[in-house]
Amino acid sequence: MQPHPAYLLHRRPYRETSALVDVITLEHGRLRAVARGIMRPGSRSRGRLQPFTPLHLTWSGEGELKTLKVMESHGPGAMLAGEGLLCGFYANELMIRCLPVELPVKEVFAVYSSLLEALPLPAMRAPALRRFEVTLLEALDAEPVFVTENDTPLEMHTQYVYRGDMRRFRPALAQEQGIDGRTLKLLARGDWESPGLARVAKQLTRIALQPLLGNQTLRSRELMHELAVRRQKAPS
């Protein structure tokens, strides 16, 4: 087996000296695997097997749980710290929660690696995250379809509300906060990263992801939210 480009999404201790890992690979999507012996003192693979670092992996096993064979780092990892690091956790948590194992998602992999390059730069974070979320939604056939519930085109001056269950839009009720058709048409053209649409794009991807996540909240999003609340309350 040729080494495959991959990223570690999460690692937890398993048995005495091993770890149970979630990885995203270029060709084979998300995989679950056992990394044997990496928790042994002095294991060189433990240092390499870090999140946000490009890896080359090989594995064996036919079942759902693979065994990692070769673990090599392939270039320096993104130096994530602070808020950028939390965003990285968020992307990893999204993939673990949403992607079924062994569903090939080449585009998601590519966009994830450009996300990691963008995360250290505060101004790039939000657009890169939106692009990542939308790519993930598309890979899972869950992205919003920009038409009404009856598959008719959206009107420029009508306010709409997204229905996650139908992946379509319905007109907003009188008291309801909606998104106007003009904005939605811009998003439909793929303008997810434009600064003027940042707030709406964030709202919409969040609602669109909800059906994939079920009732459990995303812990990394909660953490970022807690920090944001703290920052607003901070004395200075």
């Binding site: 130096m79 703290r230 920052r231 901070a234």
Partner: protein
């Protein structure tokens, strides 16, 4: 082969210890039963007592059977410095290295959203109360240089921003006596970013 149900239970029980597989468990059991029953009884008594009475220090969450641990009790430590560590083992390592004369706060873990471990699990409210009490001037964030340790340091820093305390983080470095050639890339690039002015 098996000896008896009770011996088997002992073998199983010994395997809760890290690094103890079936072979080692057997060796330990044979040693206690065959050669050192008195030592075994002492072990059993102390183990039971420790498990019943050792808890967390009320001040720093270090392990102790007293309300306060020896470091918090000591009047010779510097109240103005507080070192935040992930585990009692980390505290011990820093104490053994020597040089730090301040006090500690033990988190007993790190933030790990993907494992469902949040700020509430790490006693961070208690830490904030102590900083709020006003004695602390510098917080040394000595969490591990892992992504989770880094996230924890970030959270604590954000939490304590606004209290006017100085925050510092342990430097990443190349191990003493190590050769650059054998240092992994991640450590080396971090060490590069954190390089210090050179003065003689």
């Amino acid at each position: 082969m098996t000896f008896s149900p009770l011996v088997d239970r002992l073998l199983d029980a010994l395997r809760v210890l890290p690094g103890v597989g079936p072979k080692t468990a057997q060796r330990m059991a044979m040693h206690l039963l065959e050669r050192d029953r008195e030592g075994g009884q002492h072990l059993a008594r102390v183990l039971e007592e420790a498990l019943a009475h050792v808890g967390y220090c009320q001040q720093c969450r270090n392990l102790t059977e007293h309300p306060l641990c020896a470091i918090c009790e000591s009047s010779r430590r510097d109240d103005s410095q507080l070192c935040v560590v992930e585990s009692p083992a980390d505290l011990l390592a820093i104490e053994e290295a020597g040089g730090f004369r301040g006090r500690y706060f033990v988190l007993h873990g790190h933030l790990s959203p993907l494992d469902g471990i949040g700020p509430g699990d790490l006693g961070l409210e208690q830490l904030e109360q102590q900083v709020n009490a006003g004695m602390v001037e510098e917080i040394v964030l000595a969490t591990n240089p892992t992504v989770e340790g880094e996230a924890t340091a970030h959270y604590v820093a954000e939490q304590l921003r606004g209290y006017g305390v100085r925050l510092s983080r342990l430097a990443y470095g190349v191990p003493m006596g190590g050769e650059l050639e054998y240092v992994d890339g991640g450590t080396l690039s971090r060490a590069f970013v954190g390089r210090q002015p050179f003065s003689e």
